[in-house]
Symmetry: D2
Subunit: 431 residues, 4 copies
């Protein structure tokens, strides 16, 4: 594991911070104990938390106006894997990596799988890409992919998705996420119903190619790149399609893909109720699909999403499980730093949701004691669980302060030397 | 029909405008003919158009801040029916009236039915009301009605809906629209999933009481009166519930009940595709559930909705039918004038959609000629079909210019004398 | 002060909670001390915090659909003052009360002032009301008040505002807040520019009547009750008008009066920069002017607003001051409970903003260390300052847990007996 | 003018359509005449209408996800000018071209000016670009340009703007539009007030370099590329800055740069009232800065904007003038076709606004006849003025149907041969 940060450096970092952490942890333990909460139960839950990393998140992102590259950006899937390994080494919360094809496509999947294994990583969901044309591609997706009028383009898009399943299978993945940009920029460009009929036809072919233990995740998004009508624009469409396809089809919720003012946690509750909640792309946003760092804009909303997951877990028991990953665009920060701190933010929401006194909540709800019901959630959210998260990391081999440890290790400077800058947008899927 | 406007006055009004209308009609006929369109086919379609009136729309509306009453507002369902009769007399486009209970509840339904018949009106969908407490009501809806934690409140709400069905049956109606304000103002107030489970339980009881030839229409709305989470907030929830309930349950689309930026015509297409499009509440809005006059803010959107209906009608044939009504709040205009001009606006969109050259459109879509596909819709929308609408009215007994005819007849002044002003908000359902 | 809660009950309440509070406070003091922060400085700041109460907030609010009254609602300004006194007694954070005329108009201002003084309260900004017609009013505001086409209606509205100044002066207030509902429901209803010209004319007359030590606060709002175009719709219009009027005119920011996705803290920064930030109406919202409890939906946003106020205070020094009040509609909670917990939420944001390490923040900003700049704010926000708030209350005579103390004192039950329920909407300004 | 379409082809095209146009024109003339409107007055106004073209609009646009190139895209400013010349040749409505530097920067401005002159074109406003880094640039704009913390980056950005003024001066332009992407992706990234202070400092330096007969136009935008806080985010900030800078600074309104639900025509009215309305970037949008074709999504809104311009022109007289241009991204259409049909759409709104009976409107407004006031606007908007636009084009040398004429001339096929495709994003400013 030569590409990771020297674990001795991590230990040194932890040693400096341990006394303060112990004191903070003890202080929090006391406060929680006075509320009847055992801190160790929470810490144990925090230790088991995991959220997957997007391979494309390891590079600097951009907008349609510009991309301002960072230093030492990964140039291929192996280097992305190295960066992901560092994130997991320090946070111990990100063992899964989600690949995107063809950006991450390589011929020797065995080598890649071995590389991941050696880093303690595994491959989470794989992602197809029919929102871009690749060099030499026979049929353009300019006017759609899975929904294109042109049957050859549709078949090409279906074939690509089936190839993604095969690549994922070879890598040990268990699911495929399908996000398409298909839609219209003008009223009249598409027959709205015809487009969805073609989508369903294409998806049925992909669905048929799923291995028995796989799932396909439909990801909806309100707009961009289509600006008048997006074929899979909302959870209602995603849900209807998942129903049409069958039990292996689920809905994926990206936190930035909704209309303004949408109550996202209610969508989570609805999909859970109707058996179609598949997973999440975590990020934050203020305007649209901004792909900002998780919890950076509206941390209470992130907590409320996890509150629904905790409710669903209590109802469904051990069978309840969602595929969770980060999906962010890091335009002005070091991607490794953003992914580390974002993983921690998601973990924070998870632990805060575990803190909710559900029995008390239910009682307040049943008696219409609205104020105390609301305060029950706020009390959990207000609790600063940072010492729990740090202690969990420390106990399972991570860093008390991942960003500080990463900086002191000089990882970015080292890879900046090893990975000379490329000009312009990268072909490895960093937008 | 003594309460209607003297038909001689209407004839006199028409006589003054007829020469100009004939000239305009001929001019338009010529232009359409050069485009290969026969004006008479369109006029015949216009003659058959109908949109129902909401009984509560006959009074002046208001906001939570104030209601500024108008003159001669109807004080009971009979007077509302008189006003609706005048609207239909002059527009010949509004033969159906939709009642709201308990606002419009009377003991003698036979008398009411006879009154409607004598006016040439019939009763369209009936509406229940569990968003307000009525004097003497046993259980409050403050914390919900069909979704309330309190089982007695739920049962009371279910019983009210069943009573509405019975009243509607006696009046010749064939459907019930259910809109509830249930939801939460605080995170934690409700268990989001529990609320919908209770909703489904309540609706199953209502569904079971539907006569064979009835349908129940689920109306969703993003927010107001609940401001954090509304139980039936979006078309996805409406659709999932309609599916759970069965074939007699359909979804109703109110044009002002969606999140900002929502593509409403696509929701229409989706519901049509999946067999759950029930009907419409037509109005217009810029911000929320503004309940402005149809087509007053975004007439192109209204056209695009009718374009989807025309597409669905072409696909489904004679079996395709939706329950259409106006649902507006007339705060600063004479409600009769607003309802007349709004009915005409909806009729306008219907005729413009009928003008779309669907074969050409399909060709442009198939060849990805995006610009011409878009222009095909715009060309239909740009056509000023006013002469067609006026000629249709004239031919079937209405007024060439309904608002002008209404004003010159002095109807409002007459009822202002007969109906002295009441103070404050009315108990007859005018908000 | 016979209407207040027996202070012995408060002491008893505090005695039960004191040991836990001491322990929590000590634990937090230790954690803060390890971050280099002195808890006592923060507690001292918390003790000095104040936010004014709206007299109309003491009653149960409603929507245009319904109002579900609560028990023991105040029936006049004296009873409202009693409720406000209880809120201040327990929170020690709400010494100011903001009146609304004519709802709170009484002939004997001296008696009212004495009542307030005896409760330890004073009168903050006064509010005029030209968005409703009062019984017997000569000219309607149906088509506008300060902007009406009808000169007599404008003059009446101006005169009412001047009367509000006189009433406020007699009560010791130092400012007038002007919010109007004027606007249009239809394109074409108003000449947009003409309406604002008339507004400015009217406001100049009001401005001329301001005493030397008074300010007038312009409150903007995107929509409702006008649904197409509101004359004072955004901060840009508010700002331009405040400039036209002169140095005594300032802009007031209500947190729920903006377009979706608006960055409210940036508006605060802009108004502060250009010398026109006057004050706030605190509440929270998800969709529109929802008037939910402060911090209940997006607590991070509330913190960011206070972060701007802390920045401005550091720049401007002692001269920087804003008029802050709660403005909420309590539809499903006990208004006293909501106002108490909301005052605490606003105070929480104030203390969290005081916790921001501004020197470190500036350093991170200057070096473009975006991640650490962001984390500097998040760290302050994440800190659970509840023990500081409780200790501050305890030290200056309030309750450790205001809602619990209030409930155990049985205040609501007592006033429910003394104040029998009224039917329907109240004439005392509770909407 | 060898690169233009053969005028004989245009004549031939017109000859085929002239009989129908004459008939349609006569039919419309009759209908208008019955409304008291002289068609020739309108046609004469249409003939004088002009809207400028963006040089960058001549290429195919894209999103952050992908760009799907079209055939025969212009590779440099000369080829862009050729395309613009064709657009103007056929529409006779687009004599001005707006350049963007450094995309359009060339050493020999005289040659460029001569080329434009020979095409009958002139240079409208010039645009600076500090939202991208150029190869070899000394200081990055990753963390801001005119607002950057780094003084050297700010100075570089100022210098670039001054260079744009110099280039524009040499080309005969009279104004500079400044749009920056500066802002923050995280709360805390920038000091919100400090950023605007630096902006004003930078702009003062640019303002000082303006020639006497020049103006600088500040263009605001809610979001993108900054996703938390954009320094020049709204018209209020734009207006305040224009005031700070002086009389040569004006505000530019892009129709897609506002928060959801914003009433854009009211912003136009406000800026006109306060003397700061500078000009427009015309396009249409449904979600954000979608840059769709003008009038393709909400044509009534475009009309209402022109209605305000007509009102301002009537108030201000000959001195009232705005700088108008198209600013669109053509992702799925031929840019030449989209620019032609969009210019016509803008011209359509201009003529429809000229059709408004302003005296009648004023009368309805003064008497609060809201319904008729609204109908006065709708009547003008509903009028299909296509024959007026076509006749105006015909009379001044353009094509009756510009898109059809363009297609039949085979221009795109010809330039596709002359301009071989480039891979990837272009360096000539097409995003």
């Amino acid at each position: 594991m030569g590409t990771l940060i020297d674990q001795a450096l991590v230990a040194e970092h932890n040693a400096k911070l341990k006394a303060d952490l112990d004191a903070d942890y003890e202080a929090l333990a006391g406060s929680l104990s006075r509320r009847g909460v055992d801190i160790e139960t929470l810490t144990a839950q925090a230790e088991k938390f995991a959220v997957a990393l997007p391979s494309w998140g390891a590079g600097t992102g951009g907008t349609r106006f510009a991309r301002f590259p960072g230093k030492g950006e990964p140039r291929n899937v192996f280097e992305k894997l190295d960066d992901c390994a560092v994130i997991h080494q320090l946070t111990r919360a990100t063992p899964g990596v989600s690949l995107h094809f063809p950006w991450d496509k390589i011929s020797d999947t065995a080598e890649l799988r071995e590389k991941a294994r050696s880093h303690g990583l595994y491959f989470d969901l794989v992602n197809s890409n029919t929102f871009q044309d690749q060099p030499g591609q026979a049929h353009t997706y300019k006017y759609g992919s899975l929904t294109a009028q042109n049957a050859a383009a549709r078949e090409q898009a279906v074939a690509h998705n089936i190839e993604c399943i095969e690549l994922g299978r070879a890598l040990g993945s268990k699911g495929l996420t399908v996000w398409i940009g298909d839609g219209a920029n003008f009223p009249g460009q598409n027959n709205l119903r015809g487009s969805l009929e073609r989508y369903l036809d294409s998806m049925r072919a992909i669905y048929a190619a799923l291995p028995d233990d796989w799932q396909v995740y439909i990801e909806h998004k309100l707009f961009e790149p289509a600006f008048y009508a997006t074929t899979i624009a909302d959870w209602g469409t995603s849900f209807a399609c998942a129903q049409e396809l069958g039990p292996k089809a689920k809905c994926l919720v990206d936190l930035g893909h909704h209309a303004p003012n949408t109550n996202i946690e209610m969508i989570v509750a609805r999909l859970a109720q109707f058996g179609k909640l598949g997973g999440f792309h975590f990020n934050d946003s203020k305007y649209g699909d901004d792909d900002l760092d998780s919890g950076s804009i509206n941390p209470f909303q992130l907590f409320l999403v996890f509150n629904e997951l905790a409710d669903a877990a209590q109802r469904e028991g051990a069978s309840f499980k969602t595929a969770n990953m980060l999906d962010q665009s890091h335009n002005v920060t070091d991607p490794i730093e953003s992914l580390m701190s974002s993983a921690v933010e998601v973990q924070r929401a998870f632990v805060q949701a575990a803190l909710v006194d559900r029995e008390a909540l239910r009682g307040f709800q049943e008696s219409n004691d609205v104020l105390n019901a609301a305060q029950t959630l706020k009390k959990a959210f207000r609790t600063d669980v940072s010492p729990i998260l740090a202690m969990a990391r420390l106990r399972i081999g991570g860093a008390i302060d991942p960003v500080a440890a990463y900086r002191s290790a000089g990882y970015r400077e080292q890879v900046a030397v090893a990975r000379p800058a490329k000009a312009g947008a990268s072909s490895s899927g960093i937008v």
